[in-house]
Amino acid sequence: MDLRNPSFRLGRRGLLTGTALGLAAPAMLRAQGTAPIRIGEINSYTAQPAFLGPYRNGWLLAQERVNAEGGIHGRPLETLFRDDAGRPEDAVRIAGELVASERVALLGGGYLSHVGLALGDFALQNKVLYVASEPLTDALVWSKGNHYTFRLRPSTYMQAAMLVEEAAKLPAKRWATIAPNYEYGQSAVRWFKELLAKARPDVEFVGEQFPALGRIDAGATVQALERLRPEGIFNVTFSTDLLNFVRQGNTRGLFENRVVASMLTGEPEYLEPLGEECPDGWIVTGYPRDALNNPVHIALRDAYRARFGELPRCGSIVGYDTALAIATMLRKVGSTDTEAMVAGFKGLRYQTGYGTGEVEFRALDHQATLGAFVGRTRLQGRTGVMVDWRYADGANYLPPDEQVRRWRPQPG
Amino acid sequence: MTPVLQAQGLVKAWGGNRAVDGVSFELAPGEMLALIGPNGAGKSTCFNMLNGQLRPDAGTVRLGGRDITGWAPRAIWRQGVGRTFQVTATFGSLTVLDNVRMALLSHARRLLGLWQPAAGLMTREAEELLERVGMADQADRPCGILAYGDLKRLELAMALANRPRLLLMDEPTAGMAPAGRLALMSQTAAIARAAGIAVLFTEHDMDVVFNHADRVLVLDRGRLVAGGAPAAVRANPLVRQIYLGGMAD
């Protein structure tokens, strides 16, 4: 039984709305001549501009490249970028607009986890493909995963696992954690604790801090951590909270003679604003942009700088990769039929802009195996950089397939 | 016959200063009693203890023999006490008719109605009340634009809505031109007499007092210093000294 039988859908929806024709009728791309393939992209542009400006640039760069090469079998890609202002309900409304009025073939984007989840659920309900680029929440592909949703970036679990691998090698036994007080922070802490305890049964977690996102009371928080006298600190704060935390921590000597493992801090987005405050020797996940000198990445970096007059950031690569993955899928499938595209994404392999090789969208849970770089921070001149880094392939930091199957709702 | 109102040893002090100091009096049904005294004598404080706005430090207030000391104003109102204010207080965004209607609806305990439009309720009764105070022709005007004397009469109509046995009128003619004062008070007296309503009022205007009061109480520095028929009070040398002397300033 196939509820997605085109004539059935056409009949029902056509009756109700008189639109959606473009969506409902699967058609071979070539049959459509040179009309652009439209992608709807929804993100929190006004709420998170620091990350999402470079992200959109990266996306545009990939799209321009694809179109310069003749597009998808002769049809150019066209992306409609929309701002959700950080509100999931707005994102869902805009998704409705893009799908119904703008007739986009698929949806992409999402930065905040709850926006990603809302869009994922929208995709499920409306049988639209959604390629989540940024949202880190594990739920997106596991507990709330669905048939229509794929995710590019390494998730909270994966990033935590990468840091645990390094942290487990350290002598530190007494760990304290600090994370923003919302789902991302809470699950990062939970995974870090769980995985580290498994790897090192002798470690002990002596306390935690959960400042409100964007409103850290840095002095008091640093002192509260100091009081715990940990040997290691696991940090999940980012952006403004990170800057304030680091400045107070530096002044008060919180980081002296302590190891710190820190999520995302190696990304230029967060490292660059730190400037001279950049702490030395933190173990971080991130993106060593200036030292990543493989041919693919050098070319991308140069092209990006030539096009936008600035260097790419981690968000740029995420945007670039998302657009590239979508284009790769479209080329492979040769259709904008949702089911065909979903099938095309399962097991899709594309070349990441990092230049570290192929990335696969796993058929198992729709999570891409894109990795991150793990290294240490060091102040060079007036800004911090990542040193002693290596590429941690995402495929190696995912839980066993059996476990994933248990978490993810299985069809049927 | 049970007095309508009995005040017994009322005391109210503000930070050690006794504004009202042991005031006792009674009010007979249908009687018009004026409470007079120079500024700061404690008239308003006394008044506000009778109508429930202030709780006395000591003493009792009885209404028809029932102890109502410390009751909320709205509970006292339900016992059949109507009020007017020194500075008129009406509902500025409602029409004259609706103001009266509110009082009637409240009396009938129909304020929680959510369904029937108020415009259709108790209109006849409200018009009758307006008729009694001579305001029928202004029923549909918003009361925010009424002349002051008309506001006073509207207040009177509202005060009559619960068929009171007692009217408390704080400076009923304050802010009015002298001619209007006597007219308003005559009207009030006529209505009260016709319905057998007792009236307690404070007043500055001695013409109003001596023309309309059946009896006069004189308050000075928180104490009752004289009382009796208007003529007797007017003749009382003590009153002339402390009160009328003060007026001469």
């Binding site: 109700l16 994922g120 929208f122 009371d217 002192q223 | 709205r74 204010f85 009082a103 929680l112 108020a118």
Partner: protein, 629 residues
Amino acid sequence: MSRCGAGVRSRADPALDTLVIQALNGLASASSLFLVASGLTVIFGVSRIVNFAHGSFYMLGAYLAWTLVSHGPLAGLGGFWGFWGGILLAALAIGLIGALAEMTILRRIYRAPELFQLLATFALVLVVQDLVLLFWGPDDKFGPRAPLLRGAVEILGLRFPRYELFLIAIGPVMLGLLWLLFHRTRFGILLRAATQDREMVAALGVDQRLLFTGVFFLGSALAGLGGALQLPREAVTIHMDMAIIVQVFVVVVVGGLGSLPGAFLAALLISELHAFGILAFPRITLVLVFLVMAVVLVLRPHGLLGREPEGAPPASEAGQPLPGPAPRWLRGLGWAALALLLALPPFLGEYPLILLADFAALVLFAASLHFIMGPGGMASFGHAAYFGAGAYAAALLARHLAAPMEAGLIAAPFFAGLVGLAFGWFCVRLSGVYSAMLTLAFAQIAWSLAFQWIEVTGGDNGILGVWPSEWARGRLAFWYLSLALCGLGVWLLRRAIHAPFGMALRAQRDSPLRAEAIGIDAFRIRWLAFALAAAAAGVAGSLFAYGKGSVFPSSLDIPRSVDALLMVLLGGVQTLSGPVLGAIAYAGLQEQLARLTDLWRLVLGLVILALVLFFPSGLAGALQRRRGA
């Protein structure tokens, strides 16, 4: 144990050193908070304007100081003068900007209904947000450390930043300076007099306009100084405005509106509780300030040091009379609109239907707030609590009991109404801004419950899969459902307004004194009205939830409450057509602009400013005036 040396023992004892340092941390935060709050309380005291833009001035102060200190000509000076000169210059510049805003915008709308100025200041917030983004870009900025105050000193063996010590001192110093200003200068004494009695000062023949401009200069400069002084301590970011504004409002209200010592005390209380609170309950960060505010306002309805307004409550400027039956042409227009809403949708695309359903829910939401704001005279800064309660009622039923939409729609008004009864019982006892802020406190407590009680509510990841029943799943069917329910809701509210209950509500608003004197129990009327409005908002919230298919804590957060407030004010509080028009105008504008431009906040802000200046009695008011003319 015996092998522990003396040094180890003292290290292992967390009591004294930690407590002292934590107390100092609290003091430093309190000073920062007080600086900004003092400006707000001074402005409110004199002008009675709820100035949302105060946080924007704080942010501008920080950005401007950053530029002056690290890039301007002053930066060339370097060192002491380069830094401190930049800080002071930034504060002065912000003072001038504040004065300018007062002269060009706010001065024109002092006569507008209460809280209307809030619209204008909110528009400023939007404008400033985009301007800052345009001028300074999205990246966080780190300022240099302060000359002479770098590094740390040792206190009880723990390091404490010198700059924080400086901040600790600056709070009381500023309080002292302000005290001198208010007690020893003519300007200050006039300001104080104006705080207590505006009319009296006008009667004294003082140029009120100068006084108001002066107070905006002073208040804004204090905000700017507060922002600039954060430079060595915190990163400068585009989110600073929103992060601080709610906090300083809490401080000002907890302290007692217009009271400087009160604000100081409140800043101290909140900061110290926070500093110590996180030692014991690290997760309390989200809700602590609101808990404090709720407790303080319940116990002291005018804040810690606030005074009850003297004398009788101000005779509220005569509210406009309830309009009579609309003229025939207008009623005709209404019926025509309804006919259109019924007949046209089958020919519309999916997206217009989605939008229409959204608008329907927002219209009911705004109308429910109007019910207590207009006829009731009670402002609410936390009306989203009931919208969210309705949404969560639907979502929780769907998630935990797999209940169908019909059950959710029935449960929503009851649940939201119950929440309204519970919160309202406290809120309606208070008046004015205090009451509004208490509603905000409760809304934030509800929000943090939705946010943190992950097992039940799913936390910030929300509850997914809240979809309508099969028959209503089509966009067209859902639109008719929305139209029916929201139309019914608005119509019932309208009936209530014209029924004895609504008249009693207006009566207690017009004259509490008279209402009490004719047996109206104002508390009960206000309380029931609050619950009724909450129930209506709950219906709107549940419909909104089914329209989106998911519910998140954002359905009861501050921006959603502010949206409702803006819709009502934009439309006008006088008649029920106000919130209807306001909701459509506000949501429609936002939707259209966001599609047209990245700078939609700037444009939206400018449009709101224009509307505020041209239609100071709201859109519906403008319509009415035209009708009357």
